[in-house]
């Protein structure tokens, strides 16, 4: 997309750029303080990476298994054997399930609020969706474990009955639905608000001209959305989904309460078992000695890098989008 030229950058910020510091002590102290806090934030981010890496290397040097391919987590044993294969698989799979469920619904809700809902209702409705984000994750967790899991029995046995030929919906173990699939559904509910609110903002930025032009050509409301709203909002929806993905990857308590963990990789999504990075840290922390903690920190480092990558990519897309739409405003 169009990149901003230096001259645009200079005029854009709403600051009196001509105001030179007069050399008064107060000015120096205050600007120093505010600059210092900015630098402090950067330092925190950097030291998170540095300290986690340092502790992780301590653990990895003692590891008897292969960190990437071992299907076990026995960091307190002698010799210690641990690997992230199962955790990586479980984290990615449950997040993908969450995305597949949440993104289409979130786009629908965003369209509903921006284009379908009666004008007076749109504000309150947006607030209701934001309330979903205010509920703490541990509450989602016990709701998922004590209420959702028993209720999903009907759905999972139906999936198993009619879709077991797809392999992923083949339920091979009898038992409660504390599976990656259930975790995915719960994560989908939890990331709905963020995906919805970012998509909604983008849909509201669609130039009125484009929509009115489509309407003037006789398009129906759906055709307006398909031809002018969705193409304009595509990159916004992509970055919104990635922000949601970042949330889903790092979710701890909801997964720890719902999933019954095991160190196996299974393609059967409905079978209980599996694990995620955050869930494993929460579950193994209590019984870990100092070395076990270092091993958990190593897995936390992988999670940190994973979310950093996803969030960074999402923010880059949004930043590009901003420049683009700003040039067209």
């Amino acid at each position: 997309m169009a990149s901003t030229t230096p001259t645009q950058m200079d005029t854009a910020p709403p600051v009196v750029s001509g105001a030179r510091s007069t050399g008064r002590a107060g000015d120096k102290i205050f600007s120093g303080l505010s600059k210092g806090s900015g630098i402090l934030l950067l330092t925190i981010m950097a030291s998170i990476a540095v300290f986690l890496t340092y502790r992780a290397t301590l653990a990895l040097s003692e590891n008897e298994g292969n960190f990437l391919t071992t299907f076990d987590w026995n960091a307190t044993g002698n010799p210690p054997v641990f690997g992230i294969a199962v955790l990586l698989y479980g984290t990615v799979v449950s997040s993908i399930i969450a995305m597949v469920i949440a993104v289409p619904i979130a786009v629908g809700i965003a369209l509903f609020i921006s284009h379908y809902a009666p004008r007076k209702l749109a504000g309150p409705l947006a607030y209701v969706v934001d309330l979903l984000a205010a509920v703490p994750s541990i509450v989602y967790g016990i709701w998922g474990a004590l209420f959702l899991v028993p209720y999903l029995g009907g759905l999972t046995s139906w999936l198993n009955q009619y879709l077991s030929f797809t392999y992923i919906f083949d339920k091979t173990q009898v038992g409660v639905d504390r599976s990656l699939f259930t975790v995915g559904i719960l994560l989908a509910i939890m990331i709905l608000p963020i995906v919805t609110s970012v998509s909604r903002e983008v849909f509201l930025q669609v130039p009125r001209m484009n929509e009115e032009a489509a309407l003037a050509l006789g398009a129906t409301r759906w055709e307006v959305i398909r031809m002018s709203v969705l193409p304009f909002g595509r990159s916004g929806v992509i970055s919104a989904s990635m922000l949601g993905l970042g949330r889903a990857l790092g979710e701890t308590m909801a997964v720890a309460t719902v999933l019954s963990p095991s160190f196996l990789i299974s393609g059967h999504l409905l079978d209980p078992g599996g694990g995620t990075f955050a869930q494993n840290i929460a579950a193994k922390f209590d019984e870990a000695n100092e070395f076990g903690r270092d091993a958990l920190i190593a897995s936390g480092l992988v999670l940190f890098l994973l979310t950093l990558l996803v969030n960074g990519a999402a923010r880059m897309i949004i930043a590009r989008r901003k420049e683009y739409s700003g040039a067209n405003a």
């Binding site: 009196v16 934030l41 379908y116 004008r119 703490p136 940190f304 969030n311």
Partner: protein, 359 residues
């Protein structure tokens, strides 16, 4: 804000020979009638086939509604109108799907939490109460949450505020860009990673025991980027004329910021801080790693293990008896109420002290 598009509804034919432009459309009451019809049919089919779950009745009715609408519309109107109507009903379904879990969650929490929630529950700790036995309360956890959250706010709010001031009032060039980008990325840090970071530095390197303060440090890391973001938005809303007027009177820049810019935006800033507080009040993972949990009342956040509401819920859930589940639900209700009250107060402040732009 939003702009609902008006459906271009074809006009009823007046002449005897309808052209393609003026063909008949479905009457206005058609969607309601079809909805009623499919609800009836769905209930009928469900009852006859002996399906127990009401969800299945609803699903059948929804499918029937979409099918009947499509057929009716494509017969009376045309394919494009039919597609439009199907899209409309799908968007409605999406919205209803989002409301169902929210209502269910609130309903279940209230229904099950109200059982043991009373004055005794709020004013007693878990001292001497076995996990599987009835009784006990949440006072120690509530106290811990409030202390930890206040400490975290005391750390994160000034730093976040100053960073936002830097970004809006002073920030130029590469450093400002880097700060903006990493603040954004920092919003996405999983709470358990923030907990692990404080664990490596505070607990393992400085060899401090578990305390409420350690938890507050982790919470403040989660809180800072949220405060920066919302404060930045608010400071950008302050009209430049105010700054210029103050500077023209010879007021130094730092006093302009302190006496003119920040007071103008104070409503929005405090709203942002309170929303951030509401967000961190429900964090469990870092508390679990750093504060450890304690069934007794410990009102000193700087020494010894404390408890907190989210951690209390998690502990009671892990015990796994009916009585502990009751306590978990009641604590969840207290936590939700706490967060929602913060949310409402924050929005109240935002409305009460809306940016005074017109002065």
């Amino acid at each position: 804000m939003s702009h609902a598009l008006q459906d271009p509804r074809p006009v009823k034919p007046r002449s005897s020979a309808p052209s393609s432009l003026t063909r008949g459309g479905l009457p206005r009451w058609a969607p309601a009638a079809i909805a009623a019809l499919s609800a009836l049919l769905g209930a009928g089919i469900g009852a006859v086939a002996g399906l127990e779950s009401r969800m299945q009745w609803g699903l059948i009715a929804a499918l029937l509604f979409v099918g009947i609408t499509y057929t009716a519309s494509s017969v009376v109107e045309n394919r494009r109108q039919a597609k439009d109507r199907v899209a409309t009903s799908l968007v409605w379904v999406c919205f209803l799907l989002a409301v169902v879990p929210l209502l269910s969650l609130l309903g279940v929490t209230i229904a099950r939490g109200i059982k043991v929630l009373d004055g005794y529950f709020l004013s007693h700790s878990m001292a001497g109460v076995a996990g599987f036995a009835p009784g006990g309360g949440v006072y120690h956890a509530l106290l811990g949450t409030i202390e930890q959250v206040l400490l975290a706010t005391a750390i994160a709010a000034p730093i976040g505020l100053l960073t936002a001031v830097y970004l809006v009032e002073y920030g130029r060039g590469r450093l400002a860009k880097a700060v903006t980008f990493f603040v954004d990325v920092m919003t996405g840090i999983p709470s358990i990673v923030a907990g692990l970071f404080i664990l490596t530095t505070w607990t393992l390197m400085l060899e401090q025991g578990p305390s409420g303060f350690a938890g507050s440090l982790a919470l403040s890391i989660l809180m800072m980027p949220v405060v920066v973001r919302s404060t930045e938005e608010m400071l950008k809303l302050v009209p430049n004329e105010l700054r210029e007027a103050s500077l023209a009177l010879g007021v130094p820049k730092w006093r302009t910021i302190l006496k003119v810019v920040l007071p103008t935006a104070i409503g929005g800033i405090s709203t942002g801080v309170m929303l951030a507080v509401a967000r961190i009040a429900g964090e469990t993972a870092p508390i679990m790693l750093l504060v450890f949990g304690n069934p007794l009342i410990n009102d000193n956040p700087f020494e010894g293990a404390q408890s907190s509401l989210p951690l209390y819920i998690w502990e009671q859930y892990k015990v796994g008896s009916e009585d502990s589940f009751d306590r978990a639900w009641a604590a969840a209700l207290v936590l939700i109420a706490f967060v929602m009250i913060l949310n409402l107060v924050a929005r109240g402040i935002a409305r009460w002290k809306a940016p005074k732009t017109g002065r």
